[in-house]
């Protein structure tokens, strides 16, 4: 399936635009409903991270690219902020009581849990998070 790309200003209010772009690609690719839910959730978590942390001194963009090859939809999310590997963050402690649990930290856990593969690379001054979603394989988490 033909690749598709979109650049969006890194602002939370643009989440809907990012979501629509990726959802449309997922529908054309034929990703099953639950898998698509996981894809869009992982997208939000990565997008929100970039909006919050990638450009502390000003404005910047999020680059989204979708590719469909055989059984796998690959979503790459890139920014031009300072080098940062979101996968280096630890998972949250899911066993803590509600009052003791720190706010946040769940986003990266969702990215890890809901994708079939995930990797980070730094390339051409960009942070690139690459996630793969298999069309044929049910997500064991959802």
């Amino acid at each position: 399936m033909k690749n598709d790309m979109k650049c969006i200003a890194a602002k939370i209010e643009n989440l809907n635009g990012a979501n629509d772009f990726v959802e449309e690609y997922a529908d054309l690719f034929g990703l099953p409903a639950k898998k698509k839910f996981g894809l869009l959730l992982a997208l939000e978590e990565a997008f929100v991270n970039i909006c919050g942390y990638a450009y502390p001194d000003g404005e910047g963009e999020v680059e989204l690219s979708c590719a469909g090859n055989d059984d796998v939809l690959t979503l790459e999310i890139a920014d031009r902020g300072k080098p940062f590997d979101v996968l280096s963050l630890p998972d949250p402690d899911l066993t803590l009581d509600i009052m003791d649990r720190p706010i946040g930290g769940l986003g990266i856990y969702f990215i890890r849990t809901l994708s079939d593969s995930v990797s980070y690379r730094r390339e051409n001054e960009r942070n690139i998070l690459r996630m793969g979603f298999k069309r044929s394989q049910e997500n064991p988490a959802l």
Binding site: I12, E44, E45, I98, Y109
Partner: protein
């Protein structure tokens, strides 16, 4: 996300529909804060029409639950089902909130 409220049996029922995400979570937090300021600290949230929730949505629920607990209030969730329920479960949030199968069951439990 659409947020509607109504009073039933001395409790405020909040109905949320659509997407509970980073864009809409602040609206929910604001709504609950308004209720708390107005003295409404017994709350049931009806999830029946909710299609999607992310970590920002869960965070909004957690922040407001902590506020309510600090004020001596209560919150219960009704109709958390399907993929939204599964997001609660994989995050561990399924066990830290009070959940009921129906709004009526939540109202009965909170009374």
């Amino acid at each position: 996300m659409e947020i509607q409220t109504r009073n039933e049996a001395n409790t405020t029922v909040i109905t949320i529909t659509g997407r509970f995400d980073a864009v809409t979570a602040p609206d929910y937090e604001k709504k609950v804060q308004e209720l708390i300021v107005g003295g409404d600290i017994r709350i049931v949230v009806d999830f029946a029409g909710l299609d999607y929730i992310s970590s920002a949505g869960l965070r909004g629920l957690l922040v407001t639950a902590k506020l309510l607990k600090a004020k001596g209030g209560q919150v219960r969730f009704a109709n958390v089902a399907g993929t939204v329920k599964e997001v609660f479960d994989i995050s561990g949030f399924g066990t830290i909130f009070q959940m009921d199968a129906t709004v009526a069951a939540s109202l009965a439990a909170i009374a």
